[in-house]
Each structure stands twice: as C-alpha cells, then as structure tokens.
Amino acid sequence: MLYGWVGKILWVDLTNGRITTEDTTEYVPKFIGGQGLNAKIFWDLGCPKVSAFDPANPLIISTGPLTGTIAPGTGRAEICSISPFTHPKELYTYSSFGGTWPGAFKYTGHDAMVILGKADEPVYLSIHDDDVEIKDASDLWGLDTFEMQKVLSELEPGASVACIGPAGENLSRTAIILTETSHASGGAGFGAVMGSKNLKAIAVKGTGRINVARPDELLELVRYIDEEVGYGTFGMLASKGDGLIYFEAGKRTGDKLKKYWKKANGCFGCPICCEAVIDIPGVGRGAAMCSDWVYAECGSRGPGELGDTSYYLGEDKPTAPAVTEKPAWEAAILSQKFGINNFDILWGLTGWLWHCYKRGILTEEDTGLPTPEWLGGTAKDHEFLTALFYGIAYKKSPFADGVTRAAEHFGKESWDVLKELYGARGYVSHWMDAVPGVLHWMFETRDPFDSCHDYFQIIRRPEISKYAFGTEKPAHSSLKDPTKTVYEDSEIAVIITQHRQRIKNSLPVCDYAFPVLYSKKRDGVGDTSLESRLYSAITGIGLTEKELLSVGEMIYNLERAIQVKRENRTREDDAVYDYKFKHRYWGEESWHLGDHWYGPIDKEKFEALKDKYYERRDWDKETGRPTRAKLEELGLKDVADELEKLGLLPQ
C-alpha cells in the first residue's frame, strides 16, 4: 500500500483537451513531491527552451506526501514553471501557496498536475476525484479573484478554487494565482502563465483518502511539536491569528487594526492559523500575513535616510506621516482582487517611487499616478491605489510588468535607484543584510526568502548557529557585526539551508513553521529532525535527518542541471546587483539593530567565498557547474550523461 502519496499525477493538455494520468511511483519516493517532483518532471520534459507564455511551458503544481495530513504546516502546494517575472531572462523557478486548496486537491486522488498547451477560449478546470473536466469560462473571464471564487462556489459547491484575476488574464508579469483571500503563488508571475493558457481557475473537490504508515507515531510527533518544541520562525515572532500585524504594520497601525480583527485563519491541517482575518467596513474582509501590511510602512519607512526607525520601536515621535489602517488594508484587498503580487508592488514599488520622487528623477507626469501624501502630494491613498492597480491589471501603466521592468522603461537613473533597493533577477531585496542571505540569493533563480527565513533564527545566537550548521560564525554574519567574522563559514550555512529549503518545498512544510532551529518554548536549540520524522511516520520510509538532507542536495543539483541545460547558467550568473558591492544599502534587520544601513560588501572576500561554496559542493569552480562525480554520487547519472552530450559538463 502507498502511504503519504495518493498515487496519481494528472496531465492536462489544454490545446487538445487530452487528460491522462501517470503513477506517482514513477517519481517517488526518490523525488519526494513538490519542488523535487516538479524538477524531475521538468527535466524529463526536456527543459523546454521556450518563453513563459508559450503553450509548451508546463505549469506544474505538486503537493507532497505530507500534504493533507494532520502534520502541522504541510497544507501547501509548490508550483514550478518558466517564470515571466524573473529579469532579464525568463527562468525556470518555483513559487508555493497554502490555504485549503492543496489539501483539497490531494483528496481528489492526485499528488500533482501538469498543465500544458493553451485553450482556444477561456476555460476552467474542474476536478472532482477522477472526474476531470475542462469547462467553459468565457462568461467568467474578467471577474476579479473574489468574484470568481464566489461564482464557482455556486457552480462547483464545496470546491476549493485557485484562480487568476484581471492581471493574470492580461498577462501582467506580476500576476498571482490566488486561493481564498490571501493565499497566493505570487513571486514568479505564474498567474500570467495561467492567463497565457486561457485558464481562469482550477476547482478541486475530493472524497479520497490518504493512508498513513504509523498513525500513533505521527500523533505523538504532532503533540511533541505543538507542545514541546513550538514552531520555527513564526513561533519566534507571533502567535495564533496574529497575522504579523505588529511586526509588519508597526505599532501605530497595528493597534488600530486590532479593532477590526475577527478571528484566526490558516491552511489545510495546520494548527498554527497564522493569518489574521480583518474586516473593515467599506474596504473588505480578508485574511492577512506580512506582505499584506507593507503599505502601512509608506511614509514612515520610506527606505532611505529619512526612514523612521521609531515606527518599529513604538516611540511617540514619528518623523513622517504614517499610512493609516484603512488605506493599508485597502492596498492588500485590491492587490488580491486584481490578482497582483503585492510584495513587488507594495514593498518594492513604494520604496522605489519614494526615492525617485525625492531625487527628482520621476514626477506625476511620468508615472501617471496621483501623488499620495506619503510621497509629498495631496491625493488620497484610495486614488493612488486604484490608479496603480487598475493600470497594472489592465496593462495600462508602465508598472504593468512589475517594478523592475518599469525602472528599465524610465531609464538609467531610475534603474540605478532600483538596484539600490532590489537584490537580483528583478526581485526586491529581502533579507540581504547578512552575508549568508546575499550568498544564498546569488545561486538562486528568484528571491529565495519565500522559503528560507531560517537565518532569522540564528541572528546573534551562536549556540543556535552551532546546532544548525555545526559552526557558530554565521550567527555573526550581519554585515555590520562588530566581530568582523562576517564572511567566515557563510558558505556552510548557505549550502545546508539550500538543502533544507528543497526538503521544505518538497515534503512540503511551511517556511514559517520549519525548520525549528531555535525553540522559543525551550529558549534554546530546537529540533531539526522533525521533518524527517514526520516524513518517516507518514510514508513508512525510514529516512534520517542526514539522509533527507542528501535528498535535498540531489534536488538542488537537479535544479542546477536544469539551469545549466536550459539557461546556460555559469558562475557569472551567480550574482546580485553590483550596487551592493559599491555602496551602503538599506537592509531589514532594523528590528534587531535599530539601523537600516548595511554594506558595502567586500567584493574580493565575496568571490573567495563563492570559490569555497563551489568547492564544498564539488562543483567546478570556473563554470559553477556540477561535475559528473557529484551527479553520479547523488544518483543522477542520466543527468550527467545528458549534460555531457550537450557539452555542458565541466571537464
């Protein structure tokens, strides 16, 4: 009997309407699920060198063996595809989402689905157990994401719906795939990939079952995690239903938001229920987490010299007018309804606009946006937000394809500002204030901090770093740490974290919950064996923590092989925007250190660190590519053969 997995992978070709299934056991247990399974499917499809909007670009959506069970933080699905968002090249990358949908999908009896082709007319996918239908959605095209779910709740009662809004339909490169009011696959523009396939929504409802190998062991483990260890990053920061209101919206706005707090919300099977359901009359009802609040920071944290640290510290004398709770919430609701990635827009765009306006690079005439108070104008936030999101969703604005492409459009000066605030590949800086963070960014295809907040748990905690990586030094890796050991052993922390990240996205488990490096409940080291123990209890396949990490290494190498084969990736591509090597730049660690400024990073020391990274990975230092020896050691001989045939294997 198959435990954990439910046995089938669904293949849908929208061009000819052909629907087939394949046994999951063709791929598992070796590739586990989620990101690992997706990588294998993409590799087997030949890593198509097509654009993101080409019908041949597969949209691969996978759950994992843990999804749909009672194990905490596992109600997630991982999407992989060629991303229209990454810049300048469209890269094969990943983006995950939670909510009820992933669990509900798995109960249809499918572990994953691969969507290929392009429908002639708008359609939606209806999956009720084995009954899979491509249904007409011509009348539904144009609906926002909330309306779409409402309509499908009548057409497909009891089904969970993941859908796109106008932004996805109109191929905005910053479009998301949304389920519920705030669970989105947002970081890779996959909403536009769905739009390019004329696929409006996927509705799932199932009566299936998931077998579990050792239920008693699982329940004991669930109790142990919940009561004795607690959860990783989120466990440190907040509690049930908190939605990171104070952490991200700041004390002033957060206090007011509390008035509108209704209840906790969370994902399938998860007891953490991290989201806050907020209902503000006249604005809307929805659940929210960190990125939904970032608009609250505009004006009080314009990312610059005038940024107001007191905002976070709860002091009484803010230096800039804060955005109040209603516009902050309206920004979140509007972005979700239109189906727009609010992290890029609300976090990235607002900071970039602030600088461009202050430095006189851009004006209202250039952007076509009414200037709100926090930018020094008189327009209401409502006017600004409506104009902004409308322009993006209907491709009527320079921001329609995200901030990076807008900066490119406006010319060199605005592009230079972008490089101050953005990290690499078109993604806004996100935890680039410590050396491992920056190093991690270099080797990825996107902002990796959707699923490696682990570093947060080791800051200033040598004993936790020692436990997590076998070395204390990464605890002092902040770019302004006085101990000056910031560059040492960072490559060790990065490699281990990259492997944990692959495991995290394959089982899958939630980034906020796992790994538990630091346990708040114990005020000391956590327990990094939890993932492997959950996996073993559910699937019955005994894997130690170390063995599971080596699976993570295998997945990482397979992804690298995809990048080498499809994108001709070399050492030169392992980079972040050079601004960070030349100037001080704005970071996020202010919560801990009360100062925004970091760097510049020492370029020479960093290149030396990259050497160490490749050496430790047994990759070729010159090209940054995996060697035959390494690939064979990881059970990827066929991958090595293929790369050799193409002349892409290092000599």
Binding site: Y107, T181, I210, K240
Partner: protein, 153 residues
Amino acid sequence: MTKKEVAVVERIPRAKYKLEVKPELCTGCMRCALICSLVHYSVFSPSLASIRIVKKEFVLESSVDVCRQCLAPSCMVVCPLGAIYADPKTGARVVGKDKCIGCKLCVDACLFGMMFFNEEEKKAFKCDLCGGDPQCIKYCPVQAIEYVKVGRR
C-alpha cells in the same frame, strides 16, 4: 410519528452529551475531520469523518456540522434491524457495525444530513462522541468545538 414510533422513541435513552460548535471561530483547517477519520478508519479522509466543514473561502466563513444526538433520533427509529443504539456512557447514538446491513434508510432519514455511508464497508457511520472522549476537540486549534452536557428541556 406513528404510535408505534412514539413508543420506540420513548424507550430510547436521552443523550447525556453532545458536541456544540462555534462556526464563527472555525478556520476551516479540517483537523477535526482528519482526526475523526483517523480514529475511526485509520486513514485521513474528510469524507469518512462524522464532522463536516465547508469553508466559504472567499469570505473566510465556515459551516460546521455535527450530529445533534437527537432526542427523537429518526435514524434509530427507521433502522429495520435496530442496529443503532444509545451508548450507555454518553447516550450518543451509535451505529452497531455488526448489525448494519447498509440499507441507507437512516442516511435518508437524518434531517441534518449527519448520517453517512462508507461505500467500501457498505455500512452507515456517524458521530459516536468517541466513547466520551471526542478527539476532534483536542485537535481544534481555535476551540471551536465543545463537548457539552445535554440540559433538561
């Protein structure tokens, strides 16, 4: 009800306990349903659970349904084999698996849709209050389910 049925009902011991839910708190996480199916059928399957959650996802509201442990339980009244009995400890109306022949009369009779059918076993199933220790309560992360004593009417 016919006189005969009234006589049957009068002989049924009242339920001493039942579950009460607060749907306004429910996050729709399904943990109650998952533990229910695990305890009773050793698998995870919301469709084999006796507690039913439907989440209206776009407004984040859930409907939560549990057996009312009725005073005059139509499931017990219609069962031709008397396979449904009151648990002596809790008074919960319980399907006796040995006697159930899978005729589904009880499924049709339940006014609340809280009698279900296991297609594999060909037997009806419903909430049995876990013999007085309801597991769903333990696994609800937001205390939306309560185990309460049935009051006098």
